[in-house]
């Protein structure tokens, strides 16, 4: 699968939130029409942009169109861009405006994804003793193995990546966008809340639920491997 083999960044995204001299060089190359520089920028920002667009539109085709429209708008203004904000901030601001406009024209005043973290049944509740248990009220009913590092003898890095990618794809868009921006792209809590116009508290709830889902997927993959 092409996408799962695509190694992305380590820690924060390559394109920083503040303008830097490296970014100044990138901007000069982009303005000169350097396709390699453009492809690099697209590889850096594109995946997270699609997650943000998914957050605003239920329809994956519309989300793809939002990303496409954003890049067209970016190119139209590229010559005039002076680098007062970072490229990343500028591109994502255009994206969010474009996505909100589309969402509005689809007669929605807010992203379709509810911000309460979703009403999905929490599938791990059966891992706790009941709240009225005489001795072990709300205690774990399972032993949780400590994960100091990925047990590579049981689960290879590629298998772990595949499990995580599959989970990210299946997450509700509001969970997916927050965990992508925070944990994969390295954005700050403040940056994510501002871009998506959600409260820091909502952002934490969404991040928590998304991390729980990915952790669960890793655990299931690990258990599956161990049973073999």
């Amino acid at each position: 699968m092409r996408e799962s083999n695509e190694k992305l960044r380590h820690g924060p995204a390559h394109v920083p939130s503040q303008p830097t001299s490296v970014e100044g060089d990138l901007l000069v190359r982009l303005q000169a029409g350097d396709e390699e520089a453009f492809r690099g920028l697209l590889a850096d920002l594109g995946p997270a942009m699609l997650r943000v667009a998914d957050f605003y539109s239920r329809d994956s085709q519309v989300a793809a169109e939002i990303v496409q429209e954003t890049w067209v708008a970016v190119l139209r203004s590229l010559d005039a861009f002076e680098g007062r904000s970072s490229l990343r901030t500028w591109v994502f601001t255009i994206l969010a405006n474009c996505a909100r406009r589309r969402a509005k024209s689809e007669a929605r005043s807010a992203p379709f994804s509810s911000l309460d973290g979703g009403a999905r049944e929490e599938s791990e509740l059966n891992r706790f003793f009941a709240a009225n248990h005489p001795r072990w009220a709300s205690c774990w009913a399972t032993i949780n193995t400590r994960w100091e590092a990925l047990p590579e003898e049981a689960l290879s890095r590629a298998e772990a990546d595949a499990a995580m990618i599959e989970t990210l794809r299946a997450l509700p868009p509001n969970h997916s966008v927050v965990i992508t921006l925070r944990d994969i792209e390295g954005w700050s809590s403040q940056e994510v809340s501002t871009l998506l116009r959600i409260t820091p508290g909502n952002q934490r709830v969404l991040l928590h639920r998304a991390r729980l889902a990915v952790r669960r997927a890793l655990e299931q993959t690990l258990d599956g491997e161990r049973r073999l």
């Binding site: 994960w147 995580m164 990618i165 820091p200 991040l207 952790r215």
Partner: protein, 79 residues
């Protein structure tokens, strides 16, 4: 004293500075004496680290091609 279930719900609040000083203290004093919660915390931390250090779903190839095509058109015509 917090329950394991509350630790499960509050971990990201704890990590992100969303708890009061008193709640933080309760959180820490539970985790330090509770092996299953220590296991859970280590699992969530490793999950976060693997995400930051790994792969992510890329753009669909046709979307990528279409955007690069827009760039090539822009380059030729400068709109």
């Amino acid at each position: 004293m917090l329950t394991c279930r509350q630790i499960y719900d509050l971990l990201t609040e704890y990590d992100e500075g969303g708890l009061t000083t008193s709640e933080r203290r309760q959180f820490e004093s539970h985790v330090v004496i509770c092996p299953p919660c220590r296991g859970f915390v280590s699992q969530m931390r490793l999950t976060r680290d693997l995400l930051g250090d790994g792969s992510a779903p890329g753009l669909p190839p046709e979307l990528e091609d279409s955007i690069v095509g827009a760039f090539q058109t822009w380059k030729q015509r400068r709109w």
